[in-house]
Symmetry: C2
Subunit: 601 residues, 2 copies
């Protein structure tokens, strides 16, 4: 038997046909019998099929019905591929006709990645409503800001209703408290109507610690490899194909049934797979096949901490992913902005490294890392559109002990400089919700587990984690509802000063990037830098066909003479327009950026 | 600091200069202080150098001196890179001037891999002497047999003096009871003088369970990955560079200081490394660099159970290893010869799979394996010279419960057929010591540990292992000296019948392979097969420029009509010359092979 991957036959869980019947399918190679118990009223036996699958086609299940799978006539568990968990992770699954949605985005086509300006948000804290409907109400605002893609932190069902999303345990079920599958479909449709792309964060490297019933069905995990979260997902050990199919189908589902434009694949460095074909490559190939059949473009963006271009190189040279996050740009930028060099920041030297990040994407491409205790990284010549950069994101903010945004750490002027450093880069800029108006609130780490031992372990884990970073103060209690509530964006301040000015500043820079081809040019050779280490000034040159942009960034606290005279000064973050200290032709203000436009003859 | 790998600076342990002084170097990134305690008389402090190394140059150490390393002024351990352990694995290390050997092989150059006909032997049981000197006495015999390369099972120092070698714990020290470093150098020099290449089996995927003091020096192992032997060697976690250097230098040492022609890298599938550059590729690159400086050719041959051509594809497409073992050829051949389809044999169907192995090297190149419970393998179009095949080897014999050779399992006729199947293949044939005269003794699994708990664990492990394979009988006690003694080749029988005839038979086939270009042609397209499943006959066609060879192999127990009429019959294993039942033009005898030579017009 040779493996041939088809898109439709892979569907798992409960899937409705056009005629109203449903195909019920589960993977459990270790089960002797498997049946669906529906509405606690009747039992539907599944027939054994190839490769550990069980299936049945039935007219007896309707959308909305609740069901569990009964293994060996003994124990009952929710469906690993459940599309809905109306009573949370420990309750029964619910059948959903995921195809029964009236899409209005037939004409929609995702923009090319190079046009992506990403806005990362957490559904539960982006608005007081804390759900997809809340986001829909904000779409005009986001459109006005100028971003082109909404990136949702993970929405797979997690325990309780307060979680970043990385503790999800039902990869196919959309969090019920966010609005479930239907709510997400509505949101994506609304985004597309406004012209916004949607990126969804998905976690294929671990499952959360509470409500993970997958091991009862089969060897989803393997002791062959360890991850920070325990045994690794089984992508290459015995029975791995069912697990591979599970995540391949998951990635296809979001594109096919939810119309998302891109997936952000969480922490792919923690995916352990020594198969001849890496699971990420197999996901890419299946995505490409789906793309052919739907005529839509889909992007795969990895979070990857390996500085290894194999992930983003085209097949067969690499796994073929379209882009990756680059934390090192952030680290270099933040140290340039005065962050103490402790923890993972200790490897970064400030503007010299930031300049390297502008030119090479990876700061470490073979040097010794004192922090990692090894030579780290490889050379990359991949184009700029393959890298996502940011000055803030959920991790970089929320994984500080107190979850401080830049607004609570650096001056208003420095915030403006950092933003410009991101938006003028040859990479794909990502903003973290609220940074555009310098939201004064924290984004903290929060959970809502029910298992007491686990709650204690998470509390302890958090406070241990910060020994390295912070000497004083207490970490907020991740389990406390206040920790979550403090993290909800306080929009009431956004219309006040200096928030309104910051918002205008962001809009101006986003617009500049969108209207000047040289600024979103992903060609590496079009970007050069000079660094005056002593003065603390980095100059970024972005070259275009008709004009160049010279960006002088003063990361120092000193007012410096500005001898730069080429071209036309078109932007100064120190302008009083942006609540700055004011400008003059021959100076560059502390913590400020000046942009010159130089036209070719 | 950028990493630049040089051959000489990598030397670790105690290495003597031409002026008699010695450089002492150890890697211990976790030590606060490190010193060498010499002859229990004086202490030589080492200075801290880069990347966790400690070193000193001294005139106070002479070859023959014994020493230990003292960490943090507290505990003393033998040198991980020790070249000699005169008192075994728990005793002190001994300084050896590994460069002070009068080599006489200056003109020697390894044959190309395609000329290799390998003879695998275990130093301890190949001769009653059980050492390198014993092998030297047999070189004329081996030359007469016609093999071109002697392959030594691992010789790194192991506990006691009875061990296959895979429990080695000092990768740089040559087993003292075999004759140590000097003994190995003498053997290699003698081989080269006779025109024989030397292949050395080295283990880079684990260390043995007794006498492994490496963890006291630093993070040689990582809990990130698990292997069948516990935590994996640390090739990609924090501090991995010292571990990588250790094994890179080890591979270089065997080529540079011991003049071996090839390394057989044990079980590379158990090496876990997600670095941008795999450790095997780094070993290959360093070997190639050494080759440039010495002008000699070095080969790297992997034992690999992954059916993934990435290991043997050239850099950058793959890791660049020169060849790999293919157990699947053996499994298919053995099932063809009547082996019950249990354990790992259950995946193999006999001559159909053997035919596939002849054409494709991998039997599984993407099919579902019931034994592995997953789709397994990838396509390969690598040439035949990249694959090593055998009908017996130390594992396939010794990992049977009672260590039975083919001589104890199948008829004399079938032994002859199996041998021919190997020697006529388009791959590199490997013989296992003694098979050439159908030695009637077993090759069993034996150890000589001193740790009682370990001894019990090994005993239990062995008997558990055979539940799957054998229902009756007891596994021999691995720790018992009789188990070892029974495995020593009983050469006294070799001059008797039918052993003498078998030896002549082997010589004839080896000679045929060596003299007929078509038979060692590694071009895949020059090999085709036909299979008569019903009759049990596989016909192998080897095409040459001037003539072809058609090899009819009858694996059945029936005498069959032979309608084959093309060309000239040049060989029939059923000939009375080979103690067979006799031949006739129109029949093919049970369990026999007939070879036809077909000249091109």
């Amino acid at each position: 038997m040779t493996k041939s991957k088809k898109i439709d036959p892979l569907r798992i869980g409960v899937n409705f046909h056009a005629d109203g019947t449903a195909k019920v399918r589960a993977w459990s190679p270790t089960a002797q019998t498997l049946a669906a118990r529906v509405n606690d009223r009747f039992t539907l036996p599944l027939q054994k099929a190839e490769n550990g699958y069980w299936q049945a086609t039935t007219g007896k299940i309707a959308p909305g019905d609740r069901y569990v799978f009964v293994i060996d006539d003994e124990k009952a568990w929710p469906d690993p591929a459940s599309l809905s968990q109306p009573d949370g992770v420990h309750g029964p699954s619910q059948a959903v006709n995921v195809c029964a949605f009236n899409w209005t985005d037939g004409e929609w086509q995702s923009p090319p990645l190079s046009d992506y300006i990403l806005y990362e948000l957490h559904t539960g804290t982006f608005t007081p409503a804390g759900d997809f409907e809340g986001i829909i109400q904000k779409l005009d605002y986001l459109l006005d800001l100028g971003i082109t893609a909404v990136e949702l932190m993970p929405v797979a069902q997690f325990p309780g209703n307060r979680n970043w999303g990385y503790d999800g345990v039902f990869p196919f079920a959309v969090q019920n408290s966010y609005g479930g599958a239907r709510g997400l479909q509505k949101l994506v449709d609304a985004c597309h109507k406004k012209g916004l792309a949607v990126v969804l964060d998905v976690v294929y490297n671990h499952l959360g610690p509470e409500g993970n019933y997958l091991p009862f069905f089969g060897p989803y995990f393997t002791g062959k490899y360890k991850t920070p979260w325990g045994d690794a997902l089984n992508f290459d050990d015995a029975w791995c194909d069912g697990v591979r199919d599970f995540f391949i189908e998951n990635s296809l589902m979001w594109f096919r049934d939810f119309h998302v434009d891109a997936l952000r694949l969480d922490a792919v460095h923690a995916i352990r797979d020594f198969s001849p074909k890496h699971i990420l490559q197999e996901i890419k190939e299946n995505t490409a096949e789906l793309s052919k059949s739907t005529g839509k473009t889909y992007h795969l963006i990895a979070e990857c901490d390996l500085n290894d271009p194999r992930f983003i190189n085209p097949i067969p040279k690499g796994f073929g992913l379209d882009a990756q996050w680059t934390d090192e740009f952030h680290h270099a930028l933040r140290v340039s902005a005065g962050e103490p060099r402790q923890g993972y920041y200790s490897d970064f030297k400030g503007i010299t490294d930031l300049a390297k990040a502008y030119r090479n994407a990876y700061v470490f491409d073979g040097q010794y890392s004192e922090q990692r205790h090894k030579f780290f990284g490889a050379k990359t010549d991949n184009p700029g559109r393959q890298f996502v950069v940011f000055s803030q994101n959920h991790d970089q903010v929320g994984n500080r002990m107190k979850g401080e945004r830049s607004s609570m750490l650096v001056s208003f002027e420095m915030q403006k400089l950092m933003t410009a450093a991101v938006l003028l880069s040859p990479y794909l800029p990502l903003l973290f919700m609220g940074e555009e108006w310098s939201a004064p609130s924290p984004f903290q780490y929060f959970v809502s587990h029910t298992d007491k031992q686990l709650i204690e372990a998470v509390r302890k884990g958090r406070s241990d984690e910060f020994r390295e970073f912070h000497s004083g103060g207490e970490a907020p209690d991740p389990q406390a509802s206040e920790t979550f509530e403090q993290s909800i964006l306080p929009w009431k301040f956004s219309a006040e000063e200096p928030h309104q000015t910051m918002l205008n500043y962001y809009k101006a820079l986003v617009l500049l990037r969108k209207t000047q081809a040289a600024l979103s040019d992903p060609d590496r050779k079009a970007t050069t830098t000079t660094v005056d280490e002593q003065a603390g000034v980095l100059t970024l040159f972005r070259r275009g066909r008709e004009q160049d942009f010279h960006c002088l960034m003063n990361f120092s606290a000193a007012q410096l003479p500005n001898a730069f005279s080429e071209g036309k000064k078109i932007f100064d973050s120190a302008d009083v327009l942006w609540n700055g200290p004011g400008t003059a032709a021959d100076i560059i203000q502390p913590e400020s950026i000046i942009i010159y436009q130089v036209s070719h003859v």
